[in-house]
């Protein structure tokens, strides 16, 4: 966003005289001020504060000496890289992401294509029906599914008494199901809106060339909406690394969710100790990892697009 703002600033003086440029500058400043203030207060300042916290360690004298914070360099980061729970939790969400993200986006793409095809009737109804779960707050959705999975409270006892959906081996996929249920509709809508932006003449041309609906979808629609797919994939990767709500709620349904189940849960429980400095270091590492992962994904997909 800030890059957009600089762009505007650079363009403005070249177009108008100096006074007009000044006025433009003021207008630009005024218009981006609300965003800038919020961005500063809720993104930049907390990030800087977290980095600052992560560079400190606690010192005290005696059993109950008063704590003082001193600069500790990167010693908290050394602890992060030695912490096996942290890496186990990162591995867990990566496994989750590798399975859940493709399934969710595949379903979202399928639903979007169905909504866009002339074959389906009652489009308005389905559009709303697919999107409705996203309107359910995450915590509520997790609680609801928790009840459905629970062996003693579920209305589907025939299933839940046979298969333990909340055991160590299955609970990760039970959570994946909840996340998929919530976010399929949201991703579908992004893909669907980009399908609507495709000019209809292209379809006409394809039909004249003798392409059927399936061929149009495969050879025209999907390549043209590739940017939307990349966008939803990046959002999903970020969301996966930040899993918190569902496992936190599932703690009350399953004994197998530990306080270090996902990276964010680990950050949360470390901050509760309270060991803010280590929690801050975890967060910084997690943020950088998320950034790198998103960046690498974008790079890979863009190169692919260029080659194609």
């Amino acid at each position: 966003m800030s890059s957009v703002a600089t762009g505007v600033r650079n363009v403005a003086p070249s177009r108008s005289k100096k006074r007009g440029g000044l006025r433009n500058k003021r207008a630009v400043f005024l218009l981006i001020a609300p965003f800038g203030v919020l961005f500063l207060a809720f993104y930049l300042v907390p990030i800087i504060y977290a980095v600052w916290e992560s560079l400190q360690v606690i010192h005290r004298d005696g059993t109950f000496g008063a704590p003082t914070l001193v600069f500790g360099g990167l010693s908290q980061y050394a602890l992060v890289f030695q912490n096996s729970d942290f890496w186990a939790s990162v591995g867990r969400v990566l496994l989750f992401g590798v399975v859940q993200v493709p399934v969710m986006l595949g379903l979202a793409l399928l639903f979007a294509l169905l909504l866009d095809s002339p074959l389906l009737r009652g489009k308005r109804f389905f559009r709303l029906a697919f999107f409705a779960p996203y309107a359910v707050p995450g915590v509520i959705a997790a609680i609801m599914w928790g009840y459905l999975y629970s062996p003693s409270l579920s209305p589907f006892k025939l299933l839940t008494s046979q298969v333990d959906l909340l055991s160590g081996g299955t609970v990760l996929w039970s959570i994946a199901n909840v996340v998929t249920w919530v976010y399929v509709g949201y991703n579908m809508l992004i893909i669907y809106s980009s399908l609507l932006a495709i000019p209809t003449e292209i379809y006409e041309a394809a039909r004249l060339d003798g392409a059927g609906q399936f061929r149009i979808a495969w050879s025209i629609k999907i390549p043209l909406i590739a940017p939307a797919l990349v966008l939803t994939a990046v959002f999903s990767i970020i969301g996966t690394l930040q899993l918190l709500t569902e496992p936190e709620v599932f703690k009350q349904f399953s004994s197998t969710i530990s306080s270090t189940y996902t990276p964010n849960l680990l950050v949360y429980s470390t901050a509760s100790v309270p060991n803010v400095n280590l929690a801050a270091a975890f967060s910084v590492v997690l943020a950088i990892a998320t950034f790198i992962l998103s960046f690498v994904f974008l790079r890979l997909t863009q190169r692919k697009a260029v080659q194609a």
Partner: protein, 440 residues
Amino acid sequence: MAMKHIRFAAVVALASVALVGCSTASGGGPSQAAACAPSKGKVTLNMTTWVPGMDKVVALWNAKNPNIQVKVQTGPNGNSGTYQNFFNELKAGNAPDIGQIEYDTLPAFRVQGGLQDIGACAGVQAAKSEFSTGLWNQVTFGEKSAVYAIPQDSGPMALYYRKDLFQKAGLSVPTTWDEYAADAVKIKALGGSITNFPKGDVNWFAGLVSQAGGQWFSTSGGKWTVNLTSPESTKVAAYWQDLISKKLVSTIPGFTDQWNNAYDKGQDWTWVSAVWGANSISSGAPTTSGKWAVAPMPQWTAGANVSGAWGGSSSVVFKGSKHPAEAAKFILWLNTSSEALTKLNEVAQLYPASTAGDQLPALSQPVPFYDNQPIYVTFGDAGKVISPFTWGPTMTQTYSDVSDGFGAALSGSGTLQDALAAGQAKTIAALKAQSIPVNG
């Protein structure tokens, strides 16, 4: 997941969302203020607690003390969120004047520099005679002139059991842990479970360890010693691991709807719990009214009479309060006057910590839910035989690490003994991270 917020922002900004949730807490001011001078004029005190109905108790005080008005805010149980709020508020410098803290977490708040020493405030030292030596030691850490909290309630443990089911099955109430394990087999054969082993209630487990004579922490020579793997602690863990391995106990997370359901439907037959658990059963399993009874805890050696404690809270004045004298005056009234203690027992079934509170008429009354048994008498007797227990300075961490290990044991990987060993190592690491001197 943060997906809802990120629709319009750039990837760089998005990646940083992870940073935002975690940037507060910890720290605290240094030096203890010894003096405790009263403030002039009208004073308003803020108080945060999770005792249900506390507003009704405070209303009694506010009506009589126009110059010291108390505002109550209620939150979730300490370990379910209120402690973290306190830590954050202390770091931000806007903690309430008065807070509720369980005995096991007092050291953690002291280590973070969060507690105001009210030893110099009027009436505080004199209150010593109102409490048992063990409890008073918990709030003074054994120091001569310092007082960091006023005890509110205590959590002596006993055995809640389904009298009707035991009678029907021809079982007598178990008085030793051996009998308890034998009954577990018989109850399993009848399709029930003798009790539930909750992975998250590590403080409950600590109560069992204290009954067995174990200690998890001690201090000497300015250093902590962590001893989660003491022989007594290991004995208790092995006992429950055996019941878990044989699938004789249910393993539902405690205080959840599933857990309520297990008691309400008669799936689980007993609960070794604290006095305040009486309220948990009557509210969570309302259809079992009149079917429960309370007996002393099973013993490790036949004929012995030892109990443990689970929970129990104190009232503290937080660092940064502008009116410590008034706050101390209020929490003394709250926790030692028969007026306040009677009301606390009426609205929240609290069992008063003060020795005079023992004599409240309400505590000898029959309780209808427990088939008119005067259950508080049994708990009062248990309270007299609690073996004292020393709490560590990072209990939140110890609880969550041991609980993670318990969870693994319940799902079949590892044992409770492994969980204690892991908890031991992680607690020592946590103390070192806080720069607290520790052996090992």
